[in-house]
């Protein structure tokens, strides 16, 4: 592999790597706007001009780092010469002369490429004093589609959005219109930017020209707290950054993971946190429809399960449980001597995320962790939602009050209510929770640590973004308390201890540990036979609905 020296740091890169990527490897950021690692190279923003010497001989002009590919040894790149600094200064001036400089009312302010590079490479005064700025009257807030709004005045014409719709989404709704300084971005006549990945153009827009309808004016970005998380929209498990302020989730942004979602995520997933706001929240443990404390509620559950010897006890799982929660529920079922466990999952629209040099990843199940829940101990029983299965139960434990659409369906609720004693865990105060004998408020996925296993059997860890409020507690804690009533060894568990324990026990997770789980997740060793049962069931169901 050829070696290249960038600002005196030498790195070895694959032949054909461009200087921007080589720079990142060497720890040097070459400023750029139009270049994106997944989009074709157009070399048009001219921000990445660098000085390149080949074998000590300087190239006559500054070169764009994005379109200069390291093919052989001997290249030396400098990004810190006066000449380069002068060029960068000139480019920043060009970008800003016609930019409205409306940062105080711009959503991008705080994460804006123009602000960052102005600060680093630009100058603090303007020489554009006597001329009028170019504007696009009437094109300050054009909805390009349902989720994206364009402000043409702020655009720096990098064409990342156009190339995204052409090359990644494959839909090509956007184009470059007009010429010269009057050039503008727009949708082709009769088209709208409504493809499933549309909002990705907002992420890759380096300035505030494209903003998300959902996030517009919702929050100044510097007030956002950001934590790595996983999208719960479907079984793909796109890596996201959960961005919230004081427990109020403002947006999901895709987090790069080359194995799963690359740089992208779908609009459906971006909106999936809305349900935490739209649906009523279960905020206090309830015993027989009366608010109570945790000890009383858990004592009631404990005595009911312990006293139900001989009677049938069933566990209705959920694809929204973390693997650790499912494992603990499984242990509870073991202690209760119950074999009747199942994980119902809704089938939704199929979402497809394109990936680099890999086939696209697709998800149909409308929950992130059906596979993890089944692997960890909730799979294998018969369907509790059907017929009179619930009525035969002495105790029915519903692990998630919002396990799917059925939890909101009065008929299903009535059917599940036929169980002699109904325990419901969950964050949502669904009709099912309201019908329960004991309802236990637990954290949703923004409020807890855990892992999900995605459609490709990749286990991925996510972090608590903010603490739950009121009496809400993470389910792992609650289950640890409940299990310790049977066996003191289960006291004081957390997601990490449970994960390490299940990794030691379940062959699929062998060799993994919470601390050493890679940021990109880890592939599970899944025996061929095991998961296929419910996969086939899902396929049969999807064929039935199709």
């Amino acid at each position: 592999m050829p070696k290249v020296t960038i600002n005196d740091r030498t790195v070895e890169v694959e032949a054909g790597t461009n200087v921007i990527d080589a720079g990142l490897k060497a720890g040097v950021l070459v400023p750029h706007y139009c270049y994106h690692p997944r989009l074709s190279v157009v070399g048009q923003c001219r921000m990445c001009l660098v000085e390149i010497s080949d074998g000590g001989k300087k190239m006559p002009k500054l070169q764009t780092a994005c379109s200069s590919y390291v093919m052989k040894d001997g290249w030396s790149v400098r990004t810190d010469t006066p000449e380069v600094a002068e060029a960068q200064k000139g480019m920043m001036e060009f970008f800003l002369i016609n930019h409205p400089l409306d940062c105080p009312i711009c959503d991008q302010a705080g994460e804006c490429g123009l602000q960052d590079y102005s600060f680093k490479h630009g100058v603090a005064y303007s020489r554009f004093q006597y001329e009028d700025k170019r504007t696009y009257p009437g094109r300050e807030r054009i909805p390009l589609g349902a989720n994206v709004v364009l402000n043409m005045n702020r655009c720096i014409q990098c064409t990342r959005c156009i190339r995204f719709t052409e090359e990644i989404a494959g839909t090509g709704e956007l184009g470059f219109f007009n010429r010269g300084a009057r050039v503008e971005i727009g949708t082709f006549p009769g088209r709208e930017l409504n493809n499933p990945l549309a909002t990705c153009v907002v992420d890759i827009c380096p300035v505030g020209a494209l903003t998300s309808t959902r996030f517009r004016f919702a929050e100044r970005v510097w007030y956002l707290d950001k934590k790595p998380s996983i999208c719960t929209g479907c079984e793909v498990g796109c890596n996201i950054t959960m961005e919230q302020r004081r427990g109020d989730i403002k947006r999901y942004k895709p987090r790069f993971n080359v194995e799963v979602n690359d740089y992208w995520m779908c609009d459906y997933g971006r909106a999936s946190f809305e349900r935490y706001k739209q649906q009523p929240r279960l905020s206090s443990p309830r015993l027989a429809a009366t608010n109570t404390g945790w000890s009383q509620a858990l004592d009631a559950v404990h005595s009911r399960i312990a006293g139900a010897a001989g009677g049938e006890i069933a566990f209705l799982g959920s694809g929204f449980l973390t693997t650790e929660e499912a494992y603990l529920f499984g242990k509870l079922a073991d202690l209760a001597g119950s074999q009747n466990r199942s994980v119902p999952v809704d089938l939704g629209t199929e979402w497809t995320i394109p990936r680099h040099q890999r086939p696209p990843i697709k998800g149909r199940e409308a929950a992130p962790n059906r596979r993890g829940a089944e692997l960890a101990g909730l799979g294998g029983g018969h369907d509790l939602l059907d017929g009179d299965a619930a009525a035969r139960c002495a105790v029915l434990v519903v692990c998630d009050s919002d396990f799917g659409k059925a939890a909101w369906d009065p008929e299903t609720v009535a059917r599940l209510r036929k169980a002699k004693f109904l325990v419901v865990f969950g964050w949502a105060d669904s009709p099912l929770a309201q019908a329960a004998d004991v309802a236990l408020p637990v954290a949703h996925h923004g409020e807890k640590d855990g892992t999900f296993v995605n459609v490709e059997w990749r286990v991925q860890r996510f972090e608590k973004a903010f603490p739950p409020t009121g009496q809400v507690r993470p389910a792992v804690e609650v289950l640890s308390d409940l299990l310790s009533r049977f066996d003191a060894a289960w006291a004081h568990q957390s997601a990490s201890t449970v994960f390490d324990r299940l990794a030691g026990e379940l062959p699929a997770f062998a060799g993994l540990s919470w601390r050493r789980l890679p940021a990109t997740g880890a592939s599970l060793h899944v025996p061929e036979a095991h998961p296929k049962v419910s996969d086939q069931a899902a396929e049969a169901a999807s064929e039935a609905t199709a």
Partner: protein, 431 residues
């Protein structure tokens, strides 16, 4: 010099040259016949030896360009003839196409044979309707006579030639912008490398040559490289050259001279200055060439000498200006052209040409400030060498030379807070 026999324009004014029969009688298609008996590489060598440099503006040696085309047969190869002549002041290719279409077809055919290209596109500027009609007719005749088609003159070499008309964009005269337009996309230059010789039209190796360049080729083959080299100033500047002279001269038009004729001879040939006025400035190579002053009147008009004088021969479109010309207004008009024709994809050209036009207009209207000259230079510096294609460099040529060579005129505009020259009534409306 007086003994110079026109080469490229020898058939101009002979209507019979428009027909295949007439062209043959005038000695046409001899070059092609000779070429078909030669090895392709030998043709390239001959053209290399002749020292023919591209007549489109950059002056790149044509033979060398052809030799860059890979020899393999895994991809088709193309020749694209650049007939998108849209540099202000340039009208030489038009003359060749309208008066001697077969000369161009012959040149294209030889080039195609030399680089093993089976397809040739002639990309004609949209406004050149007459050229397109005449060339279409000539193509038809050539096909019927078996000069084009499945077997060129019975040699077994297959060649198809097509006319593609542009839609009115200067930037489509830039070679990669032309390829994009040819492929049916928005006409905007591509990032280079890869160069068209490797990845050109439809992703295949492509030669792109100007009309005049290709028209030289039959003559090189007929008369030999040594004959070609005997015309011109030196080893690096050979052959006949068309000069399009316009502006304040008595008889504007296209004139053929051996390359390297002096500007004074050329001016005299065009009948001298209009109404006997004084020469104030001249542009030697089209709108993008820096302006020269009368002290350069004896300059030899070849690629290297003009470059040494701080300008460029470009497309050899000579624009002559007399003492009544306001340089600021002229350059403002040129800046307006480049702003209008910038494709808008790269930052320095998109923003810089616009800014330059605004500053120059302000100066012309007497609203300039003392810092404007320096500001213009600094904008030029930020565009120069940093734009994606050559349009940025083209746009700064006239502006830079205005500031460098006519500073007193800018100062006068600023000091008097008005243009000191007679005002045309229609400056604002695009004149």
């Amino acid at each position: 010099m007086a003994a110079f026999e026109p080469v490229l324009t020898k058939n101009v004014g002979k209507p019979e040259a428009l027909t295949l029969k007439g062209y043959r009688q005038l000695g046409g298609y001899e070059g092609l016949t000779k070429a078909l008996t030669m090895e392709p590489d030998a043709i390239i060598d001959e053209v290399k030896k002749s020292g023919l440099r591209g007549r489109g503006g950059a002056g790149f040696p044509a033979g060398m360009k052809w030799s860059f085309i890979p020899k393999g047969k895994d991809k088709p190869k193309y020749l694209v003839c650049n007939a998108d002549e849209s540099e202000p002041g340039t009208f030489k290719d038009r003359l060749l196409m309208e008066n001697d279409p077969h000369q161009l077809i012959e040149g294209c055919a030889i080039c195609c044979y030399a680089v093993s290209a089976n397809t040739c596109y002639i990309y004609i500027r949209g406004e050149y309707v007459k050229s397109a009609v005449i060339l279409e007719q000539a193509l038809k005749e050539a096909y019927e006579a078996g000069i084009l088609g499945d077997s060129v003159q019975g040699s077994g070499f297959k060649l198809n030639m097509y006319i593609h008309r542009g839609a009115g964009a200067y930037i489509c005269g830039e070679e990669t912008g032309m390829l994009e337009s040819l492929e049916g996309k928005r006409g905007q230059p591509r990032v280079k490398p890869p160069f068209p010789a490797v990845v050109g039209a439809f992703g295949a190796p492509t030669v792109i040559n100007n009309v005049e360049t290709l028209c030289n080729v039959p003559h090189i083959l007929t008369h030999g490289a040594d004959w070609f080299k005997s015309i011109g100033t030196d080893e690096r500047n050979t052959g006949p050259k068309l000069y399009a002279i316009s502006g304040h001269v008595d008889r504007p038009g296209t004139y053929e001279y051996p390359i390297g004729v002096t500007f004074r001879e050329m001016l005299d040939g065009a009948g001298g200055m209009w109404r006997g006025r004084q020469l104030k400035a001249f542009i030697p190579g089209g709108a993008s060439a820096p302006i020269l002053k009368p002290d350069q009147i004896d300059i030899k008009m070849d690629f290297d000498t003009v470059a040494k004088a701080g300008s460029m021969l470009g497309s050899a479109a000579v624009i002559v200006m007399d003492e009544t010309t306001c340089m600021v207004r002229s350059v403002a008009r040129l800046a307006k052209f480049f702003n209008h024709e910038s494709c808008g994809q790269c930052t320095p050209c998109r923003e810089g040409t616009n800014w330059m036009e605004l500053v120059l207009k302000r100066l012309e209207h007497g609203e300039g400030t003392e810092s404007d000259a320096q500001k213009l230079l600094s904008i030029c510096k930020n565009i120069g060498g940093q734009s994606l294609c050559a349009l940025g460099d083209a746009a700064i040529g006239p502006v830079k030379s205005l500031v460098d060579r006519f500073p007193e005129e800018i100062e006068q505009h600023v000091r008097e807070r008005a243009c000191p020259f007679p005002q045309p009534r229609y400056f604002e409306n695009g004149a």
